[in-house]
């Protein structure tokens, strides 16, 4: 699937994501065990995240996958662990700067 930088996606648990770093190659990006949909035309599927994949995703958190290089930013909170080709994406720590602007 094509995950362009800046493209926006939605998971079954209501969470939304934006691609901040594109992957080299990815077959499937899922949230809560179901494929993500483009945010603009995501219909309510009536599906729920699978119980074992229902982590809470908070707005502003970044998730990355070392193998593919994919990095996502959560733009809307929701439930549904993020997985790339079956691999659980890791939470990326922000090294916040002292306010400088």
């Amino acid at each position: 699937m094509e995950l362009r930088p800046g493209s926006r996606w939605k998971g079954v648990g209501g969470a939304e994501f934006v691609v901040v770093r594109p992957p080299k190659q990815v077959k499937s990006l899922q949230s809560g065990g179901h494929p993500v949909q483009p945010a603009a035309d995501a219909a309510n599927s009536g599906m729920e995240p699978e119980a074992s994949l229902s982590d809470v995703l908070a707005v502003g958190k970044r998730y990355s996958d070392d193998v593919s290089g994919l990095e996502l930013l959560v733009s809307k909170a929701g439930k549904g662990t993020l997985t790339v080709d079956g691999r659980v994406m890791a939470l990326k720590e922000t090294k916040a700067l002292p306010a400088s602007d």
Binding site: P5, G6, V18, V59, S75, T94, P98, A99, S100, D101
Partner: protein, 502 residues
């Protein structure tokens, strides 16, 4: 990622949080988001490829920035201090464009072909327009977020290009989303056409800290606003800080609410930062170094670095107060010689930087290297512990008989003399040495002489660093962002020879 998403995320998560206070009023994040929607519809209606902003600071400014992003048009804030003829030339270069202009500046620029003008009052009315707010509009994608025109002291101004991904990458990797508490407020007084004003909008909105705008900087207005609005954070350029301290001194007050003060945009004289730290020991000071082409900050001297340096007996640690700290962990910085070879720690050369936020690009001209490295044109070196010392523009470094001499170091020494109010050091062409050290001093007392000051420099620095040409004046030329215009002095003194020699 479009920068408009930064505001959208913030407004979704904390709609009621106060976001912007300007002369136009006080606006929550949800209200800012509604204003931006209406303004984006307005911009999309215009036959324009670019949105220009020509005006003082206020709520219109961040509204226009985000609305431009939603409408998919680059945002170009212009310097209202430019002469009318230069302003009109720049406006013509943005054509076809729509320009939001302060009402009292409209008469300076009207009738430029291809430019649609909207006065600030009309713009504010459009931001509140119910029909436009309700019109459904999805973000139009675009690459370029901001065009910033360089000051153009060396020819035609160049338009620095900042793309959405440069700016958003800087924000999401250096700011905790909504990490600020509700008390926090940032006082913004740098003018809209400065990169620091652009980054202040994005980092404070994303961080959840309300922005309080000073339409235009005066030290009195700054202190008044800081007290009245219980300001916790602020960014100033070095010349602003000295003048703010004078006002605080003369009023005999402190700023108890202030938690953090960052500074950048030029060399901070060591006596000024020491005075500020002594006057406000409760404040966290941050020195941020960056360029327009790097999406703002690339290196930071943090609060602890300041305190450690200030109290250290070790001269190597103590002098870090004059450094710009350590590079952001998301970047790489190297020092290189003129042939491009990487220099070891402690050796001075040109500062190079690489990272996702580095734009390094002007309109129609890319200056970043294929491997991502950007040459800053700043001279500097890195100490044993990784602290970066920036000595100024490469062109300002004096090369005397093969020795590289930093003007800033000599200026610091001279400024620490009680009879020196201000000083500029620069190189002049010299038949024997290639260049010689020259300086222009603004004296505090009539008794001060070149002999006296030469002796003063000699007790602090190597003799090769003692200026050989001296001139005394009532004031020095600065641009409106407080940057000393050494070039101007250099040109004047090169032209008129036969000066007083020490």
């Amino acid at each position: 990622m479009q920068i408009s998403l930064l505001l959208e995320m913030a407004a979704d998560a904390f709609p009621d949080r106060l976001a912007v206070i300007g002369e136009e009023g006080s606006f929550s994040l949800a209200e800012m988001s509604a204003r931006v929607r209406a303004a984006a519809v307005l911009f999309a209606e215009q036959p324009a490829d670019t949105v220009v902003y020509l005006g003082l600071n206020g709520a219109s400014f961040p509204t226009a920035l985000f609305a431009s992003a939603v409408a998919g048009k680059p945002f170009a804030p212009l310097n209202y201090r430019l002469p009318d003829v230069d302003l009109r030339k720049l406006l013509a270069r943005t054509s076809p464009s729509v320009a939001v202009v302060d009402d009292d500046m409209l008469s300076r620029v009207e009738n430029v072909e291809g430019v649609t003008f909207i006065g600030r009052t009309a713009f504010e009315a459009a931001c509140g327009d119910a029909a436009r707010r309700e019109k459904a509009m999805s973000d139009r994608e675009s690459d370029i977020a901001v065009l910033l025109f360089t000051s153009g002291t060396t020819g035609e101004p160049k338009a620095a290009v900042l793309r959405h991904h440069h700016l958003s990458s800087y924000v999401i990797s250096t700011v905790d989303f909504m990490g600020a508490d509700e008390e926090e407020g940032a006082l913004v007084s740098v003018p809209p056409y400065h990169i620091a004003a652009i980054s202040a909008i994005m980092t404070n909105i994303y961080g959840g800290r309300r922005i309080v705008y000073l339409p235009i900087f005066t030290p009195e207005a700054w202190v008044d606003a800081a007290v009245k609005q219980r300001i916790t954070h602020a960014m100033v350029v070095p010349t602003m800080l000295g003048r703010i301290l004078d006002v605080l001194d003369s009023r005999g007050i402190g700023l108890p609410h202030l938690r953090a003060l960052s500074y950048g945009g030029g060399r901070m004289p060591q006596p000024v930062i020491e005075r500020a730290m002594a006057l406000m020991p409760h404040v966290d000071f941050v020195n941020a170094y960056g360029l327009t082409e790097t999406s703002s900050t690339i290196s930071v001297l943090g609060p602890d670095d300041h305190r450690i340096a200030m109290t250290s007996q070790d001269p190597a640690v103590r002098r870090r107060l004059g450094s710009v700290g350590r590079p952001l962990p998301i970047l790489e910085i190297e020092i290189r010689d003129p042939e491009g070879n990487v220099l070891p720690r402690g050796e001075a050369g040109e500062v190079y930087v690489r990272g996702e936020q580095i734009a390094g690009e002007y309109l129609h001209k890319k200056v970043i290297q294929d491997d991502g490295w950007f040459a800053t044109n700043d001279a500097g070196w890195i100490d044993e512990d990784g602290f970066l010392f920036v000595e100024g523009r490469l062109d300002d470094v004096i090369v005397r008989g093969g020795e590289n001499i930093s003007p800033g170091e000599i200026e610091d020494v001279l400024r620490s003399h009680a009879d020196v109010a201000d000083v500029a050091v620069f190189g002049l062409p010299d038949d024997q040495w290639g260049e010689r050290v020259a300086c222009v001093v603004v004296p505090r007392s009539k008794d001060v002489t070149a002999e006296l000051l030469s002796a003063w420099v000699k007790t602090h620095l190597r003799s090769t660093k003692v200026p050989e040409t001296w001139e005394f004046r009532d004031e020095l030329p600065y641009n409106d962002l407080g940057k000393l215009l050494r070039r101007v002095l250099k040109a004047e003194l090169s032209a008129g020879q036969g000066l007083q020699a020490a």
